[in-house]
């Protein structure tokens, strides 16, 4: 006879099983697949299953990594990834907080709600559709800005276009998250401050910002931890995969994808190596960001 407690544990474990199995197959087994990064991975013609391919591919040590980092293209995409993400993090944080504070000062609740609804729209739009929005402005034949230059052949201006596209897509969402946090602040504090003669600016700096600091820090850590991960959709769809733009639009994720798709023998190993490098550095980044926060502000660390 099994005890009721054991039976309960068994039942819950049974519930965990589908999710756990999914994680095992789609997240943990690929981690073992990292071994491809150290191989000259090739399909094994007689029976090209994953196991056979790995067992029959030659180990080449760090050759794949050496090959990647010997190219200017790799350094260029790393630079692009860091520069874009750096600019994105700073602008998104500052602007979305500013918008949220502004939204909170709007007296007529109808307008505040209406603006919120409009701002949330880009969150629901895929990058594929967004690329059509951009195309409507930049199309060489009919586009609004077609007279300026042939945008899809000339890399000039693309860093700004991509930054605007990113802000368009993410600002509203972030603003709403911050706005929700701001509306949760105790109104009594503001009233007390106003009675003491504190100006609006003073209230923002002394009440609003400190109150939402935990959220700012948390979103900041998550963003910094992902500084090596670029938004594939943005960098792939908005420039429409145009070759002449690659110098300024190539980032880590598009690079890994392109290398993987390339027909050159051994490209799978190289793409895996690049991905592994990205994940290890990303892991180090998120852990360091978290440690740093914990050092200064124990309560706001993520783990």
């Amino acid at each position: 006879m099994i005890s009721p407690k054991y039976k309960k544990t068994l039942a819950i474990t049974l519930m965990m099983l589908p999710g756990a199995l999914w994680l095992l197959v789609l997240r943990y087994i690929p981690m073992a697949g990292i071994v491809i990064a150290f191989q000259d991975y090739r399909p094994h013609p007689p029976n090209p299953t994953l196991i056979n391919n790995i067992l029959n591919s030659q180990f080449v040590g760090l050759e794949n990594f050496r090959f990647i980092f010997a190219t200017d293209r790799a350094w260029n995409m790393i630079r692009n990834t860091l520069a874009y993400n750096g600019v994105f993090i700073v602008l998104t944080t500052v602007l979305s907080i500013a918008l949220a504070i502004g939204l909170n000062e709007i007296g007529k609740k109808f307008f505040a709600k209406f603006y919120q609804t409009l701002m949330f729209f880009p969150f629901f739009i895929s990058w594929v559709v967004a690329s059509y929005f951009v195309f409507a402005f930049l199309d060489p034949t009919f586009g609004v800005l077609s007279g300026v230059r042939n945008w899809y052949l000339d890399p000039t201006g693309w860093p700004i276009i991509l930054t605007i596209a990113h802000l368009w897509k993410t600002l509203g969402f972030n603003c709403i998250i911050y706005f929700a946090a701001i509306t949760g602040i105790d109104q009594g504090m503001y009233e007390a401050a106003a009675i003491d003669g504190a100006s609006k600016w003073r209230q923002v700096w002394s009440i609003t910002i400190p109150s939402i600091k935990p959220m700012i820090i948390m979103l900041f850590i998550m963003a910094v931890g992902r500084i090596f991960n670029a938004d594939f959709g943005l960098f792939w769809n908005i420039p429409m995969n145009m070759g002449p733009l690659q110098g300024v639009t190539e980032v880590f994720d598009t690079y890994v994808f392109r290398v993987m798709q390339s027909p050159i023998a051994g490209s799978m190993g190289m793409a895996t190596a690049a991905g592994l490098f990205q994940n290890v550095i990303g892991f180090i980044c998120i852990m360091s960001a978290n440690t740093l926060v914990r050092k200064f502000d124990r309560d706001n660390a993520m783990f």
Binding site: T9, L23, M31, L118, F124, A136, K200, G282
Partner: protein, 304 residues
């Protein structure tokens, strides 16, 4: 009354408020303008495009682009069907798995919860990367070029597990679980008759996020699907944009089948019309469910 007066005292000056309206409202409008623009373009005639290009004020309005889009016939309907199947089936199974998994993490008396929490959250900070994941899905699971490849890889999203668990924690008192257990209710019965009815708002939130995720997906199609019959709508749109040849080929076919001459067909207008058709369901629905999503996201963002 007194409180109201105080609040009015603590308002920004009328001038500042106008400025805030200009900035916040201006940004809000900028969020929606590109969509309105492509709606206008999709209703512009080919003649109008030739003379004034894409414009907010076309010289002539027409339904030709939409007619052309619906004349795509099977290509359009098959993609629509694929997107629907992927969204409905994917959302159902994803929701089920997420609820089951989050329930175990939520139960304080479940001894393995720390292990399973680590098991899912670790995948948020480290992974095998693109190539090993693609290889596992394609070679090990054999999902290349099937609708399964558009569903299975997106079934579990750790962030959704967090949102769901937080919803369980905030909406279901421990005492309720305990008393159900004392009454001899099994775990499955407790989950389906007590927990799920109480956590409906959370389930709605995660369900909507998941459905949008599936409806908007093109990435999995880019990775795994080569067969045109399996293209979801988003990927069809993407392919059209990047593959004009495909468009020309289909336009020729429509020209023959629909009795419309090629010159009448606005190729760009057609693509814009397709983009509008894809966005419409979301554009109409989201103002109604955004409330759920906002509450879900803010709950999910609360640190434990």
């Amino acid at each position: 009354m007194k409180r109201n007066k105080k609040l009015r005292i603590n308002r920004v000056s009328p001038f500042s408020e106008v400025l805030i309206h200009l900035i916040v409202g201006g940004f809000a409008i900028a969020c929606i303008v590109p969509f309105l623009f492509i709606v206008i373009i999709s209703f512009s005639s080919a003649e109008s495009l030739r003379t004034v290009g894409y414009s907010f004020l076309p010289t002539e309005w027409t339904l030709t682009s939409f007619r052309a889009a619906f004349d795509l016939g099977d290509t359009l309907w098959r993609s629509f069907f694929n997107s629907m199947v992927v969204t409905v089936v994917g959302t159902f199974f994803s929701l089920l798995m997420t609820i089951l998994y989050a329930y175990g993490l939520f139960r304080k008396d479940y001894p393995l919860r720390h292990f399973f929490a680590f098991f899912v959250f670790f995948t948020m900070v480290f992974g095998g990367g693109l190539v090993p994941t693609v290889v596992v899905i394609r070679n090990l699971l054999g999902l290349g070029d099937t609708l399964g490849a558009l569903i299975v890889p997106a079934l579990m999203i750790p962030f959704h597990v967090i949102i769901m668990r937080t919803f369980f924690k905030t909406s279901i008192p421990d005492s309720l679980i305990e008393s159900a257990s004392l009454d001899g209710s099994g775990e499955f019965r407790t989950l389906f008759t007590i927990v799920i009815p109480l956590a409906k708002p959370g389930i709605a939130t995660v369900g909507l996020l998941t459905a949008i995720n599936y409806w908007n997906d093109w990435y999995l199609a880019l990775l795994f699907v080569r067969d045109r019959n399996l293209f979801p709508l988003q990927f069809l749109l993407m392919e059209m944009q990047q593959n004009i040849e495909f468009l020309r080929r289909n336009l020729t076919m429509i020209g023959v089948a629909g009795g419309v001459s090629l010159a009448d067909l606005p190729g760009e207008g057609l693509r814009m019309a397709l983009a509008v058709i894809i966005v419409l369901p979301i554009a109409f629905a989201y103002p109604f469910f955004q409330r759920y999503i906002i509450s879900g996201l803010t709950v999910g963002a609360i640190k434990e």
